[in-house]
């Protein structure tokens, strides 16, 4: 049985101009693998991630035939029961660490709080565990970081702290929403290596949401390509460069490449038929 099974997921936002469908009938499964979701802004990739955790607030509407986490349908859970899922069984790393950490609490206090919510333990034991977690994400002097406030951290450090916090409860699934797009290329690698190590060591499932095709091709096992709220193509990550769908091809061709210089970059020509075609299933 897959870890996560999503069937016919829709996310709708009523507006003055009628109902806007951000995600339109997406189905996929996630095993103990690294699943990438790519697409442009507005393609519904982040909304898919948030809908799984039921983080979309009214007036947004989420419907699905099922979102089952190891046979447990999340759509049937009450808000209170969802709280035992969020963070504990499915964790999410957001794009910008600056907006996801509490600015008026030291990092140490935040991690200790997260740890003690997940595990019954004394404050001092939680402190030791927190320092271990910071070491696990390659933070050099965790003692100092524990005393620091979020604004004293660089983007890369902040993102690693977020990852440390998300991993404390030992979740089954990690949803990473553009975890590295606010970071430099050199730091990006480090953060990815950490995520990769943790995913393989703990046998977690990872949903990696990104707009960066090359990154996803390198890092993930399987990729869903989203366009206008639907999945237009599913392929193995190492075969992404041979993708067939004209949208995927267009995205790949619009990237400037060092090894193949061109005077003009190819511009994506959008075909209205792409958004009309039914969603491809990402189930295995």
């Amino acid at each position: 049985m897959p870890l996560l099974d999503v069937e016919n997921l829709w996310v709708k936002f009523p507006s003055r101009q009628g109902v806007f469908d951000a995600v339109r009938g997406v189905s996929f499964t996630l095993g103990r693998e690294r699943l990438g979701i790519v697409g442009e802004s507005g393609s519904g990739k982040s909304m898919t991630g948030r809908a799984i955790l039921r983080l979309i607030r009214p007036p947004g509407i989420v419907t699905a035939d099922k979102i089952s986490l190891e046979g447990d349908d999340l759509m049937l859970k009450s808000e209170k029961e969802m709280r035992a899922v969020r963070g504990q069984r499915i964790s999410m790393v957001m794009q910008d660490p600056k907006f996801s950490l509490n600015p008026v609490m030291t990092i140490g206090d935040q991690i200790i709080e997260a740890y003690r919510l997940a595990n019954k333990s004394s404050k001092s034991a939680a402190r030791i565990k927190s320092i271990e977690m910071l070491e696990a994400v390659s933070i050099r002097n965790p003692e100092r970081v524990m005393r620091a406030y979020p604004h004293e951290m660089s983007g890369g450090m902040g993102q690693r702290i977020m990852i440390a916090m998300m991993l404390i409860p030992n979740p089954d699934i990690l949803i990473a929403d553009e975890p590295t797009s606010a970071l430099d290329v050199s730091v990006q690698r480090q953060v990815l290596d950490i995520i990769d190590k943790l995913v393989t060591e703990r046998g977690m499932g990872l949903i990696f949401i990104s707009h960066d095709l090359n990154l996803v091709a390198d890092f993930c096992d399987r990729v869903l390509i989203m366009y206008a709220g639907r999945i237009v193509e599913v392929c193995d990550a190492d075969k992404l460069r041979d993708a067939q769908h004209p949208y995927t091809r267009g995205l790949l061709n619009s990237l400037p490449r060092l090894d193949a210089p061109r005077d003009k970059l190819e511009v994506l020509k959008r075909d209205p038929a792409w958004s009309e075609a039914p969603s491809v299933s990402g189930r295995v």
Binding site: V185, H211, G250, P256, P261
Partner: protein, 246 residues
């Protein structure tokens, strides 16, 4: 002949104990019609160089000359007729309550043009927007369209040099391709000189002939684009940067 030359430029912020040297002894020059790239990680001082050229940093030393004229601490009005900048974030660099017409019209007026109506239409055509966008507000435009307006604004005084600070990093790859193509076309049409900052080596590789690699405020290497393509940078840091990005 060089259009833009920077000699031994240092920029610092604060003073005493809190002094931060953002740029240390940077030198480079860009010829007429050339495009020069500056790459490096965040905090390496690459954007600060552009801001120093434009006069947006109060404390700097060294010599900057534009069109073979050395520039003074207080920029002359004529300076801004030659040098214009396009900023990174098109969401933040346009006034939210000014329409495209106001943004461009005011810039033109301040630069002493009086045939504003015709020029606004011309500018919008130049950047591929067309006059139907003339009376829109920034929130009615997509990211790519906003960046086109920002480019139109920079082109308004008919400058010779455009300073581009990460012009596409806030945009999707498909939109990035459109903006990069637009910049390539404009450079050819108006014989512009570009100085472009980016953290993306492949974008710089696509747009520029020469590039400088920066680390901790210093230029560690200046190389031609062929050296970058053939993967033969000489400085170890440039090698590291190249390895991380491909």
């Amino acid at each position: 002949m060089s259009m833009l030359s920077v000699e031994n430029l240092s920029v610092w912020f604060g003073g005493g104990r809190d002094r931060v040297d953002a740029v240390k002894h940077a030198s480079f020059s860009v010829g007429v019609g050339e495009s020069f790239g500056i790459v490096g990680e965040s905090g390496s001082g690459k954007s600060t160089i552009l801001r120093a050229i434009l006069g947006l940093t109060p404390d700097w030393s060294g010599a900057i000359s534009v069109d073979d004229q050395p520039i003074t601490k207080k920029r002359q009005k004529t300076f801004y007729k030659i040098v214009q900048m396009v900023f990174q974030d098109p969401y933040a660099s346009l006034h939210p309550r000014h329409s495209v017409d106001q943004v461009l019209g005011e810039t033109l007026y301040l630069h002493g043009f009086r045939d504003i109506d015709a020029r606004v239409v011309q500018l919008l055509d130049d950047v591929g927007l067309g006059s139907k966008f003339r009376f829109r507000y920034p929130h009615q435009l997509s990211g790519g369209q906003r960046q086109r307006v920002a480019i139109a604004r920079a082109l308004a005084p008919e400058p010779k040099i455009l300073l581009l600070d990460e012009p596409t990093s806030a945009l999707d790859v498909s939109v990035q391709a459109e903006i990069l193509n637009l910049l390539t076309d404009l450079r050819a049409e108006h014989n512009l000189t570009y100085a472009m900052v980016s953290h993306d080596l492949s974008v710089v590789g696509h747009m520029c002939e020469n590039l400088a690699v920066m680390k901790d405020g210093e230029i560690v290497e200046i190389m031609g684009i062929d050296a970058l393509r053939n993967n033969q940078p000489s400085h170890p840091y440039s090698k590291e940067l190249l390895a991380a990005s491909v």
